[in-house]
């Protein structure tokens, strides 16, 4: 697609429920990233995919968080047994990988998750 697409745009869920957040990157972008942005804060790295593999999962805050990417394209971030502290905007970004040069990411508009 023309941009990075994330769905849903907003999600309200009850504490303890599982949620799935979807990211559809720009076609051909091999690298995909998930970040979390809490209210008024900067961006916290969660996980990075190169193709379908995740060489860096260091930012996942707990084992309730997991992510996968299939076909080198769509990625799903799953949060199990949601807690109120999981409330945040979850941003996805993708980038092409041209050798070792970084031209910056293209971000989606994010999913605002509210756990009540």
């Amino acid at each position: 697609g023309a941009g990075v697409s994330q769905s849903p745009s907003n999600k309200v869920t009850e504490k303890g429920k599982d949620v799935e957040l979807r990211c559809d990157p720009i076609s051909g972008h091999t690298a995909l990233y998930w970040y979390r942005q809490s209210l008024g804060q900067g961006l916290e790295f969660l996980i990075y995919f190169q193709g379908n593999s995740a060489p860096d999962k260091s930012g996942l805050p707990s084992d309730r968080f997991s992510a996968e990417r299939t076909g080198g394209s769509v990625s799903t971030l799953t949060i199990q047994r949601t807690q109120q502290e999981d409330s945040a905007v979850y941003l996805c970004a993708s980038s092409p990988w041209v050798g070792r040069r970084n031209y910056g990411y293209t971000f989606g508009s994010g999913t605002r998750l509210t756990v009540v």
């Binding site: 804060q41 900067g42 990075y48 941003l91 980038s95 070792r100 910056g104 508009s109």
Partner: protein
């Protein structure tokens, strides 16, 4: 730890005036990239400008320019002829080209909220 510091939580500027947003970073690596991103209320992060650390020349993009001081690890953003549409949260970020499992990860500062007054 690699860090990015934006010391100005909020800044304001009059329309048509110039404003400078500050950013400092900490890395021992020599091969890295620096970025400024803009986040309007729509939430989407928009790349404003990019600087490669090995390039001496400061990057410019229309009304946006940077003052890159490598020795001081400083990377400020200057917005000239400010417009109402420039109002947003601005994030400084960097990426270290050091390989390993952290390859590709951008590290962000806490952001600066820019208000533009008509």
């Amino acid at each position: 730890a690699q860090t990015v510091t934006q010391s100005q939580p909020e800044m304001s500027v009059q329309e048509a005036e110039t404003v400078t947003l500050s950013c400092t970073y900490d890395t021992s690596e020599s091969d890295y990239y620096l970025f400024w991103y803009k986040q309007p209320p729509s939430r989407q992060m928009i790349l404003v400008i990019r600087q490669e650390a090995y390039k001496q020349q400061n990057a410019t993009e229309n009304r946006f320019s940077v003052n890159f001081q490598k020795a001081a690890k400083s990377f400020s953003l200057k917005i000239s002829d400010s417009q109402l549409g420039d109002a947003a949260m601005y994030f400084c970020a960097y990426y270290v080209n050091a390989g390993g499992t952290s390859y590709g990860k951008l590290t962000f500062g806490q952001g600066t909220i820019l208000t533009v007054h008509p």
